[in-house]
Amino acid sequence: MTRQKRSHHRLKRAVAPYLYLSPSLLIIGLLMLLPMVTVIAYSFQNSAVLRRDPSFAGLKHYQAIFVDPVFWASLWHTLYFTCMSVVFHMTIGMVFALMLNSDRINPTLRNILRVLYILPWLFTAVIIAVIWRLLLEPNGVVNSVLMQMGIIGSKVEWFSSPETALHAVTFANIWAGYPLFMVSLLAGLQGIPKDFYEAADIDGAKAYQKLIFITIPQLMPIIISISLLDFIWTMQVFPLIWITTGGGPIYSTEVLSTYTYKLAFSSYNLSQASASAVVILLISLGLTLFYIRYQKAR
């Protein structure tokens, strides 16, 4: 082989991986990076999108949202909604996974429960929103059952009352999201060697000690990974809140996603909406970096 041929061959080998990656990189660039950079640019412009030659606004739009009490309320609601959702997704998912993994439950019943427990995962956010609007409306099933049981004295307007609306949407989101944890934790539970529990039985461990000393530490990588992903996804939930409450009443369920949407498509303040979107992006980015670092550390 001549020297020229050899260097040509080497170049081909070096370029080949990038050629294979180029279609996906192109799609990511067009559909993700480009809109992202554009939104960041809008957040520094006056009258973005609406004017052909928008002027540079500096940090004006960021200042505007940071002094807006609705933004801070939205941020607090987002944190409450996300934290409660993640904690309960994990708790319910863990309890159901432990039940489905238990030998004490009849196998047929276990299979039926497995299907029932996974049902919420099959519905789209719109269907879930509609189901819970119907269930929680003043004349809905939930009020009727609670009144019959004597837990409430009069009909509660779950989605229409500022006191209950945020809890109600959080509840609906918890119901919709626990199956991911359940399925992941069940897979993890099934991977824990039986020997660990038998050794613990011989050592005299009680059921709760086996849970604390064996099961949870063994599931910890899954718990952390799924919790972080759930945190990132739940923070950006839009359709469920938009369809059930639309962020109201009186901003009581306003979260960052609905706040941004309203700025963009109700107030047509696309620059300020972009600034708000960038704030969401930065929070998500922080969590994503934390997730990637955790995955690398493993």
């Binding site: 038998e198 613990a200 011989i202 050592d203 005299g204 461990a205 000690q209």
Partner: protein, 381 residues
């Protein structure tokens, strides 16, 4: 420390499969008993029943004089070493060893003192802060031993603890476990499918097949006086050669050869005479077959054989042969591996032997070392 007594122990699973059938076994205080047998013989099931990890269908089990059949594992005063070691990967060596003490609510200082003592005995002191993933196979094995020792149990139960180690380390760990058991003097029941482990480690060896106890004896007696063809074939590596022959007068006739038996053979086994004119199974161990061209083989009778292959091990030659006789299956599934497709006998020759693959030789046979079995029942005559 305690004796472990199993009386008429049975284990039947839901599908009516009987894994253990009427197992009677008495393990003395401080004894090292090996449960050995081929895969699926029920040895691990028996051990797990003693540990309380499997229910006992019927029978009685006493540890230290106490009936433990209905007791949970933690109350049986036993410790178990698992085949996989069952070390908790998220705990350090110290935490793994101290786990049972932690569960029992023992104070930190007491835990540390005890773990330090054990770590010193097992040479694990420098590894106490390591996680199991960072240990070698032998070190993990020692940690598993430490976890069992920390409880100061009445009996140790070990389920194939060396099967995950490479051959060289296994030899080393065999010696370590044996000396540790002697040092501690704790009653130990050790399950293995490896008959070399069984022969080298135990005070006594119990051979199981199909859930039925075949023989319990010292390794020497098991080797020299197997009660049936299965034990004869299972104990010893390579396995004993078992052939069918017809006893005619004082001669064993098989195919194209006959071997004259000495009077001593009939004196030692009076029952053998009753097989005159009938078929009988005779067995000979590979080390009792000789190369007739060497000095060591000159004094014995010879039979014709064809060498099919040779494994030169340095200290000896394992010679695979074909002799004109019908081989008898001992019932040991592992024994089949000793024979190639073209061979039906194995011999151990001295390394100076010059036989080569494909050659026809005269095979010297030490007939005084023959074992005889009934062709129907396979019981020793």
């Amino acid at each position: 420390m305690a004796e472990v007594i199993l009386e008429n122990i049975c284990k039947t699973y839901g599908n009516n499969f009987r894994a253990i059938d009427q197992l009677n076994l008495s393990v003395e205080d401080g004894e090292f008993l090996i449960l050995v047998g081929p895969s699926g013989c029920g040895k691990s099931t028996a051990l797990r029943m003693i540990a309380g990890l499997e229910d006992i269908t019927s029978g009685s089990l006493r540890i230290g004089g106490v009936d433990v059949v209905d007791m949970p594992p933690k109350d049986r005063d036993i410790a178990m070493v698992f085949q996989s070691y069952a070390l908790y990967p998220h705990m350090t060596v110290f935490e793994n060893i101290a786990f049972s003490m932690r569960l029992a609510g023992k104070p930190k200082a007491e835990r540390k003192k005890r773990v330090d003592e054990i770590a010193k005995t097992l040479q694990l002191t420098s590894l106490l802060d390591s996680k199991p993933a960072n240990l070698s196979g032998g070190q993990r094995q020692r940690v598993a031993m430490g976890r069992a020792m920390v409880r100061e149990p009445a009996a140790f139960l070990m389920d194939e603890p060396l099967s995950n180690l490479d051959a060289k380390l296994r030899v080393q760990m065999r010696a370590e476990i044996t000396s540790l058991q002697k040092q501690l003097g704790v009653t130990t029941i050790y399950v293995t499918h490896d008959q070399i482990e069984a022969m080298t480690m135990g005070d006594r060896v119990a051979v199981l097949k199909g859930g039925v106890l075949q023989q319990v004896d010292t390794p020497k007696r098991l080797y020299e006086s197997p009660v049936n063809a299965f034990v004869a074939g299972f104990i010893g590596s390579p396995s004993m050669n078992l052939f069918e022959a017809t006893l005619t007068g004082d001669e064993l006739m098989s195919g194209t050869f006959a071997i004259r038996l000495q009077d001593a053979a009939f004196v030692r086994r009076p029952g053998l005479r009753s097989y005159a004119g009938r078929k009988v199974v005779f067995g000979i161990r590979p080390e009792d077959l000789y190369d007739s061209s060497l000095e060591s083989g000159r004094k014995y009778q010879t039979i014709p054989a064809k060498v099919t292959s040779i494994e030169e091990l340095g200290s000896e030659h394992i010679v695979h042969l074909n002799v004109d006789a019908v081989r008898v299956d001992s019932g040991d599934p592992d024994a089949v591996d000793d024979f190639g497709l073209a061979s039906n006998a194995v011999a151990r020759f001295e390394p100076v032997s010059a036989v080569h693959s494909g050659s026809d030789i005269r095979l010297a046979v030490d007939d005084a070392k023959f074992h005889f079995f009934d062709p129907e029942t396979h019981l020793a005559i």
